[in-house]
Amino acid sequence: MSSISQNAEVARADRLIERHEKDNTTIFGFWVYLMTDCVLFASLFATFAVLRNNTFGGPSGATLFSLPYVLVETLSLLTSSFTCGLALVSAQARRKTQTIIWFIITFALGLTFLSLELSEFHKFVVMGDSWRRSGFLSAYFTLVGTHGLHISIGLLWMAVMIVFIYKRGINKLTMKRIRMLSMFWHFLDVVWIFIFTIVYLFGALHA
């Protein structure tokens, strides 16, 4: 008798493990995707590094970039990465409203970052220093722009996610997606560390 109930228990636990495994598999798969994205950015970084001095009579990074401006961008993105983590912590504690609030703050900071970046782009283009100007500027716009494109996708995802949490609450499915979204957002901050250092700070050193 007891052995039968034990077996049933083991079978139930097996199913539980299987379900956890399934979620873990999705998260792991998303991690693998992020790793491929790292290589994508690495190719763009390599291209930028090769073309960094090919200004062809146009402006160099040192004359173009304003470091205080970039610092504000960097800090807003870094803070958004932190608040995104707080959203995940709240979600794990099953606090729905708190999760949504943290995500809204993250979204606002991300949007701030994106608009700062776009207005910087706009300023350069208006001054005549667009991606058509030189190899260096092509590489700059493409590298930073690809990051910006990822940020836009992240913001779109976050907006969908906020509605999703609001409507369906925090369950296993939303939890899994929150986890992946936060991984994506942290990943974008990690990429930005290198853009900040290699594009902007190293660029200032060349002056």
Binding site: A11, E21, N24, T25, T26, F28, G29, V32, Y33, M35, T36, D37, V39, L40, S43, L44, A46, T47, V50, L51, N54, T55, F56, G58, W131, R132, R133, S134, G135, F136, S138, A139, F141, T142, V160, L173, R177
Partner: protein
């Protein structure tokens, strides 16, 4: 005035697209009509037999890797025939076009055909066969009921299909890129290739490449996470190991391709200066980047074929594989080293001797693990009870041809030698010997070996052997002369040469080789037809016709959608071989199984990508936005769906399984 206004508006609505881009010269027009006839004919046939609903339910929306694998292989075979048609034109042209005779093709048309041949054979034939076989076999060999991400997998296939469709549309409207299979700038820049050919090439490979990346992620995770309990990594069949190696290369090499193609597309479309000759562009960076993807790509294709050879060697020698652990280490040595040799494709570009020496030595080193594998196959066969069937023939031919081609490769790994042979037909002979024997022969062996597992009957052995000998003789006739021609100074992509050079006889021999290869292909088609004809006679196969060693042979044929009614118990390598030795009767209870529901959204996402690609090629911007919107909509719609699986209860599984058991008995 009004009409003029309308026509310009309409003109800008269609971007660069106009009727003048339909083909005009007879050969291209004939090809275009033939190509268009295939889908139209297929559509008519399906309508006539009222099979649309069936096609939609069973194939277009399927998430079952077994069916997706078969679709990959069908696409690859069709594309292979197209690639072969290109070969016939190339070889005819080169055999004739000497002295005052200018052959059958114009120079620019010849360059387009050369580019089409390379592009299609690598991206849509070799990759298609590879992903097809992986989809069919990997879940079965690791004892899994499904892949890790069935929807992602299906989407990957449809993106591959969309890329294939896009590159074929270029034959009907527009032109093909005439810049070789890797489209080096500055030739591929807008200034020197102003037509749409290069854009078609870029977007087709971009879409298919993203499909491959998705498939790669899926299979890495599948092999790592979905192995049946008890099958530790070192107990996996070697085919799975080689797929894991190959897919690890896919996930890290294909992003580089995506970037490279995107940068070229930006140069051509919005006027950036990555690879242009002026404005601070650096065209050498393109060559560097494309080979940083391109060299791993070679091993992406060849590793799964190595895996097939390992399975074939063990099964058809009725012996366990010699040196399993050394095989695994060899695979990972190749995986890592294949990322450190890419410069050997452009020794002559002008890097310093330190750089050239480093990459030359690395290239020589990569021959070592490959050699280890060759010896292991030979030792597996040594003193085995050889079952001389076609798969083993392909293996033996591979060992011989691959060794010759490989030694030519080591020769060219010496930079000073490479300076003599770079861009010559010697190189062409070398890489065809590697890819045809290492990849194509391997997939032929694999298809012959696994065919009965999925269709229930073997392929006709006699015709298979005719095909084999025609292929081998034709192949050697076609490529050994190219080694000699290469030494005589003949460069690749040559559409005409002076008759005083004395090259013509060798080109004629090479063309005769192609005749033999065509005979081989005809025998293969005949083999397929005759085997279907004889399927209920002597070719009828049980579930284990070759006395197999790995788990796929333990399954009934046809394989049920959930693969394993009860997950197998594994404690050793060659799990099924060991199980056959015991008299074990499985009486464990059945359990419910979750199966992914069909979904058309993979097809929708790929259709959006196709529309996007076509629109960007022709600069039809509103349509590009529309295509992208379709893809994004498909993605979001899918993410909202929580009920992506259905459940078979334990009782249903039991009933289905026992019915199959009855069938096998009777």
């Amino acid at each position: 005035m009004m009409i003029h206004h309308l026509s310009t508006t309409f003109g800008s609505l269609l971007g660069r697209l106009s009727l003048k881009w339909l083909p005009h010269d007879p050969i291209t027009a004939f090809g275009a009509i033939l190509l268009a006839a295939v889908p139209i004919g297929a559509a008519l046939l399906i309508t006539y037999t009222k099979r649309w609903r069936w096609l939609y339910r069973e194939w277009l929306t399927t998430q079952d890797p077994k069916r997706i694998g078969i679709m990959y292989i069908i696409v690859a075979i069709l594309m292979g025939l197209r690639g072969l048609a290109d070969v016939i034109l190339i070889r005819t042209q080169q055999a004739l076009s000497s002295g005052s005779n200018h052959g059958i093709l114009t120079a620019s048309h010849f360059q387009q055909i050369i580019s089409a041949h390379g592009t299609i054979m690598i991206f849509f034939v070799a990759m298609g066969l590879m992903f097809g076989i992986i989809n069919l076999i990997v879940p079965l060999q690791i004892g899994a009921r499904d892949v890790a991400f069935p929807f992602l997998n299906a989407t990957g296939f449809w993106l591959f299909f969309a890329g294939m469709a896009l590159i074929n549309v270029s034959l009907i409207i527009g032109d093909f890129s005439a810049t070789g299979w890797l489209a080096y700038p500055p030739l591929s820049e807008l200034k020197y290739s102003p037509t749409v050919g290069v854009d078609y090439w870029i977007w087709s490979l971009e879409i298919a490449g993203i499909g491959s990346l998705l498939a790669g992620i899926n299979f890495v995770v599948t092999i790592i996470k979905k192995r049946v309990k008890g099958m530790s990594l070192m107990k996996m069949p070697l085919f799975c190991w080689s797929v894991l190696g190959s897919m690890s290369l896919v996930i890290f090499a294909f992003p580089i391709l995506t970037v490279t193609l995107t940068l070229l597309a930006l140069d051509r479309t919005i006027g950036t200066h990555f690879f242009t000759a002026g404005y601070g562009g650096n065209m050498m960076m393109y060559v560097n980047l494309i080979w940083a993807w391109g060299h791993p790509e070679v091993y992406i294709l060849v590793l799964p074929a190595f895996g097939i050879y390992s399975e074939v060697a063990a099964v058809f020698s009725r012996k366990k594989l010699f040196g399993y652990a050394s095989m695994v280490w060899a695979i990972w040595a190749i995986v890592i080293l294949s990322f450190i040799v890419w410069l050997h494709h452009f020794f002559t570009m002008g890097a310093g001797s330190d750089v050239n020496a480093f990459f030359g030595i690395m290239t020589m080193i990569i021959a070592v693990p490959t050699g280890v594998k060759l010896f292991n196959w030979l030792f597996t066969m040594y003193k085995g009870k050889l079952n001389m069937k076609t798969p083993l023939y392909w293996l033996i031919a591979f060992v011989v041809v691959f060794t010759i081609g490989g030694m030519a490769g080591v020769l060219m790994a010496v930079p000073p030698v490479d300076f003599q042979l770079h861009n010559s037909l010697f190189l062409v002979a070398h890489f065809h010997m590697m890819i045809v024997s290492g990849v194509l022969f391997g997939y032929f062996a694999g298809i012959t070996y696994w065919y009965p597992k999925f269709l229930g009957f073997k392929l006709n052995e006699r015709l298979g052997r005719y095909a084999f000998w025609s292929w081998l003789v034709g192949f050697l006739l076609a490529f050994v002369p190219l080694y000699i021609l290469g030494f005589m100074g003949a460069t690749r992509r040559l559409d005409h040469y002076s008759s005083s050079l004395g090259w013509q006889p060798l080109f004629v021999v090479a063309a005769i080789g192609v005749v033999f290869i065509i005979a081989g292909v005809i025998f293969q088609i005949l083999q397929l037809i005759v085997s279907i004809w004889q399927r209920n006679g002597e070719l009828k196969a049980g579930h284990d016709p070759w006395d197999g060693r790995t788990l796929e042979w333990s399954l009934p044929t046809p394989i049920p959608v959930y693969n394993f009614a009860r997950l197998p118990e594994v404690s050793t390598r060659d799990a099924y071989w060991e199980a056959k030795k015991t008299n074990y009767i499985d009486d464990r209870p059945y359990e419910p199984i979750l199966i992914p529901k069909n979904s058309p959204l993979g097809l929708v996402i790929a259709a959006g990508a196709f529309i996007f690609g076509f629109a960007v090629v022709w600069h039809i911007w509103w349509l590009a936005v529309l295509g992208l919107a379709v893809s994004i909509f498909g993605l979001i719609y899918r993410s909202m769906d929580e009920h992506t699986e259905y459940k078979l209860s334990a009782a249903e599984v039991k009933q289905m399984d026992q019915m199959r058991f009855q069938e096998i008995k009777s």
